[in-house]
Each structure stands twice: as structure tokens, then as C-alpha cells.
């Protein structure tokens, strides 16, 4: 993992921390095209009262709007948690070029766990999991501990 990539994940983590202030599950995402950040999002389900407004979905929509193209082959998504099946399948649908995620999600993940979306997908991006894994996981563990 290059230091530039690590830096993007730190920025995604910062966005995740921001989500906590709004009582959102702390997941953040950064979408990068040609070394430019084109979307910075965090989970916004509570604020928007919309169960589909995960960080990844918002990032995909912002990326599509920004690039004015339905496909994101040239983009890399950095996200602090393993995407759920919906987000994973949306990333396949949008033909994401590269996916880098932080913590693994054995309960609700859709990449390495559950339906393993890319095992069934026509589109195969490069995928790297476990980047800043501990930091990303700790934030989530702390959030859910305080919720209880």
C-alpha cells in the first residue's frame, strides 16, 4: 500500500469520525479519479432517513454526477468498512476500477462474506481489504459500545 493510498484511507476515516457526531454508523468513503478526490462521503442514513444512503452509494452517485458518465472504471473507492451486499453490487454495476476497504465485516459484509458479490459479478475490480483495519474497526466497536 503506497503512502498516498494510506493517506486517502486516513481521510475516509476522518469522514467516518464526522458521521458519529450525527449519530450515524461511522463509515466514511473517498472516491478518487486521476489522483483527484471527486467524492467525500459518510454514512447518512439517520440524517436523511434513507436506508440506502450508505457512504459508498453516496460516493458512487457523486462520482457519476461529477464525471458525467455512468461508469467509474478509472476510479478507486476507499471505504473504512467492507461494503454490504447492496454497496458491493452497486460498485459492480458502476464498474468501479479499484476498491480498497478498511475493516472486515463478517456480519454484514458482501465482499469476503455473505453473498460474496464479486464471485457472481461480470465486473471484477482490483480489491484490497484490511487497510488501516484496526483503526477503522476500533471506531465502529467504540460507536456500538456507546450505543448500548
Amino acid at each position: 500500500m503506497t503512502s498516498i493510498a494510506m493517506n486517502y484511507m486516513y481521510q475516509a476515516l476522518k469522514l467516518a469520525k464526522h458521521a458519529v457526531h450525527h449519530d450515524e454508523v461511522p463509515v466514511g468513503a473517498i472516491l478518487v479519479a486521476n489522483e483527484h478526490i471527486i467524492a467525500q462521503t459518510h454514512n447518512q442514513c439517520v440524517v436523511d432517513q434513507n436506508s440506502l444512503h450508505h457512504a459508498e452509494m453516496l460516493a458512487i452517485h457523486q462520482g457519476i454526477t461529477h464525471l458525467q458518465t455512468p461508469y467509474l472504471n478509472e476510479c478507486t473507492l476507499y471505504v473504512t468498512l467492507e461494503p454490504c451486499p447492496m454497496c458491493a453490487a452497486a460498485l459492480a454495476q458502476a464498474r468501479i476500477g479499484k476498491l480498497i476497504f478498511g475493516a472486515y465485516d463478517p456480519k454484514s459484509g458482501g465482499i469476503e462474506h455473505g453473498p460474496k458479490i464479486f464471485d457472481h459479478s461480470h465486473h471484477q475490480p482490483e480489491i484490497i481489504g484490511g487497510v488501516l483495519e484496526q483503526e477503522c474497526a476500533d471506531l465502529l466497536i467504540k460507536f456500538f459500545k456507546e450505543k448500548r
Copy 2:
């Protein structure tokens, strides 16, 4: 299948036929809450230049906006084609009450085929497939034949 339910699927089929005029893959959807139609959508990926704008995704968003709630437990979605993994997982995320679809999609479906989303989901709606199957499939077959 009651005649009311068949009627909703006919309406979804009419929306699918409308999509063809815009060169969209002909898939239509109707979202019903308490016997009222709260969303009428069709595939809009080409017009919107957005790879996520499937009929089901648009219907979920319209339903959430209309009801001002993140969850659609009281709703039934009628859609002319077996939802893809993204739409199936989004329906799980939005906790759809009931899902009724027309044609089966062995190539890209996510309910009975591919990742079989609801086999891995915490949410289990009532699902009925194959309603007006032939009419829904014929429309798609005709569309793709003319495209070639």
C-alpha cells in the same frame, strides 16, 4: 395471485413498455402501500446516464421520500424482471414487505440466481416470481433482438 395484484403487474408492464421509447432496457416497477400506488418507475439508466437508476432503485427512493420513513415493511414492489443483486440487496436494506416479480433472469438476477441475496439477508420478505412471466420476458426478448 389476486386480480388486483395482476393489475399492478400489468401497470408495471406498461411502464416497462414506456422505457423502450427512451431506448432503456424495458423494466417497470410499481410500489404499493395500503392499496395506493406510491411510486411508478422504469429503468432510466440511459436517460440519466446513471448505472444505478434501475426501476427498483428509483421506486425505493420515491417510496422512502413519499412515506418519509427509511423502511418499506408495509409496501409491495411489483417489478417486471427478477431484481439484480444491487436491487435485491437494496430491497433487503429498505426492508420491503413483499416482492412480486415477472420474468426470471438467469443471467443477471439476484433472487433465484447469482448471489441469491435473500439466502444471506437478515430481512426476509414474501417473494413471488413468475407473475405475467411470458409477457414480461417477451418484451425484453423483443428489445434485445431489435438492438442486435
